[in-house]
């Protein structure tokens, strides 16, 4: 059989979890990470990252809206997906996740964004025209109370929502790690560290994504990048990345030391089939290089332009690294035989329902959603509105 070395059980030859299943944890990871960045400002009062607060929330929402699409495309039968809600299956982690998703989407993200934008929404509903006016009117839910007291209440409630949102974000992404980590049949996945590693890599990737988006959007708007903000983000990204890397190394050391019956097989796989994506991309290019670069920015006082370039480079490398990590987990876990004496190959199709083009499309789609959200709810202070509000 082509692509098979050694012996595979018949049901192991083709990979069922395709590149879309790689994309799914990557996207939910960005959501969780972006939200954690937003909560830095809101709950932990890191004022420096404020310029990215709203952008981070909108990014989280844009990516969360796309998150179920890879799963639905993978499973087919989109019309069956609501049945997960209609007939809840309490002993299936995958089925219960529908509720976690809905909770996170509506009770956390949408609610928090609405609270945070309410003042502007009300003002826009009074000052814009035509269709937009109607949309803002609907979004204001017919209440135009933006008195000081009611905004104060919003702030308090928003704080609580963010507080609840942090464990929810952990739940959202920890679940993805949990699904893999709890599969005892697969030694590549089965590890209680899996959810933790997933969460930390999610945070790093989400923070990197929002940082890059902030820099790109600010450039596009021909505004000056707030260096204090970007420096602080990079610092947090650096620290969390160190934790993430240490956890992954801990997992590795544990596997090497434990050296159970699967070890030789997995070790061989890492040195052959996964060599490029794991050793080269994930660990060297995607982890060690950005860690060293970020370390330099923390140690040496570099000029602004150099810092910017380093941040963009390491942010992009981190995204590649985290994607490679998802790839190595999802695809890697299906490449070896449970007999431990054979390996198969993943052949990615190009234009099929689960092919490369669809994967690329799904990666770009959230950016369109984000663009629409930014048009609807501009995350930066609206100067015209301020004047009008003052005139009120």
């Amino acid at each position: 059989m082509s692509g098979v070395e050694g012996y595979m059980y018949p049901n192991e030859v083709t990979l069922y979890w395709s590149v879309l299943i790689v994309l799914y944890p990557f996207i939910t990871g960005l959501v969780a990470g972006a939200f954690i960045l937003a909560s830095l400002e809101r709950v932990f009062r890191v004022e420096a990252v404020k310029p990215t607060y709203r952008l981070a929330l909108l990014t989280a929402l844009a990516f969360l809206l796309v998150a179920p699409l890879p799963l639905i495309l993978h499973l087919g039968h989109p019309f069956r997906s609501p049945e997960m809600y209609f007939t809840p299956h309490s002993t299936s982690a995958m089925a219960m996740f529908g509720y976690v998703y809905m909770w996170y989407l509506m009770a956390v993200l949408v609610f928090e964004i609405w609270l945070d934008y309410r003042r502007e929404i009300v003002l826009w509903s009074q000052q814009s025209k035509g269709l937009m006016r109607t949309i803002y009117k609907i979004m204001a839910l017919g209440s135009s109370n933006i008195g000081e007291r009611s905004l104060h209440i919003d702030d308090k409630v928003g704080w609580i929502v963010t507080l609840i949102g942090i464990p929810s974000a952990f739940l959202l992404h920890g679940y993805v790690g949990f699904i893999f980590g709890s599969l005892k049949a697969n030694p590549w996945w089965s590890s209680p560290l899996m959810p933790v590693v997933f969460i930390f890599s999610a945070m790093v990737s989400g923070i990197a994504a929002v940082m890059l988006l902030y820099m790109a959007v600010t450039k596009l708007r021909k505004q000056a990048i707030d260096m204090r903000c970007v420096d602080t983000i990079a610092m947090y990204m650096f620290y969390i990345f160190i934790i993430d890397f240490s956890l992954e190394m801990l997992d590795l050391v544990h596997r090497v030391y434990e050296a159970d019956e699967s070890f030789r097989t997995l070790n061989f796989m890492v040195h052959t089939k996964l060599y490029f994506s794991q050793i080269v991309l994930q660990i060297f290019v995607g982890t060690l290089v950005p860690l060293i670069l970020l370390f330099i920015t923390q140690m040496v006082k570099l000029p602004e332009i150099a810092r910017k370039r380093i941040y963009v480079l390491s942010g992009s490398l981190i995204l590649i690294s985290v994607f490679a990590m998802r790839w190595n987990v999802v695809i890697g876990g299906q490449l070896f035989s449970k007999s431990f004496i054979g390996y198969t190959t993943y052949k990615m199709a190009l234009v099929t329902r689960e092919g490369l083009l669809v994967a690329i499309g799904l990666t770009i789609l959230p950016l369109f959603f984000l663009w629409a959200l930014v048009k609807l709810l501009p995350p930066w202070p609206d100067k015209d509105l301020h004047e009008a509000a003052a005139g009120d």
Binding site: T87, N145, R149, I153
Partner: protein
């Protein structure tokens, strides 16, 4: 009181949630089949519906009532424990009305390879061949009798052995 008034918009938002939840409940009551959950996490009525499907397999005993000759050969051969319909496919329609439903003879080059192609996943004791090498593309029935496949243990030999017992 004024505190409540200033939080009025929050109640509107909450109301939206309640509304959405009510819509969900209504839709749910409408789309979830009545018998769902009767016995478990599935539609209870499905059992009756499946039971009402027409039977497709007749079963070995039924075939043997008419094809006694083949049943005798087979009973003494290596395929004694392989069911007729494992090779011939579901034939209840033929068993009910043999004159109007004539089964097609299975293509042995495909059929036999399905069970006998060598694979490491099969127990070593199971007879396996590499079909291309073993038969060179010729249908397996040119040399083997499908109902008593060991060569040399043909019809007469088997019958004689059986008779001697």
């Amino acid at each position: 009181m004024s505190g409540l008034k200033d939080a009025g918009h929050l109640f509107r938002f909450a109301g939206l949630f309640v509304l959405a939840f009510l819509v969900f409940l209504v839709v749910r009551a409408y789309v979830v089949p009545k018998s769902f959950g009767e016995y478990g996490h599935y539609r209870g009525a499905a059992i009756g519906e499946i039971a009402a499907h027409p039977v497709k397999f007749a079963g070995r005993q039924t075939c043997e009532t008419c094809h006694t000759d083949i049943a005798d050969i087979k009973a003494k051969g290596a395929h004694a424990h392989v069911n007729c319909e494992a090779c011939h496919g579901a034939l209840a329609a033929h068993a009910d009305d043999p004159m109007s439903v004539t089964p097609v003879k299975p293509d042995s080059a495909v059929l036999c390879a399905r069970c006998h192609t060598a694979s490491a996943a099969k127990p070593a004791s199971f007879p396996q061949v590499d079909p291309a090498e073993h038969s060179g593309g010729a249908p397996c029935v040119t040399c083997h009798n499908p109902h008593s496949p060991i060569i040399g243990s043909d019809f007469t030999a088997n019958a004689a052995k059986g008779g001697a017992k």
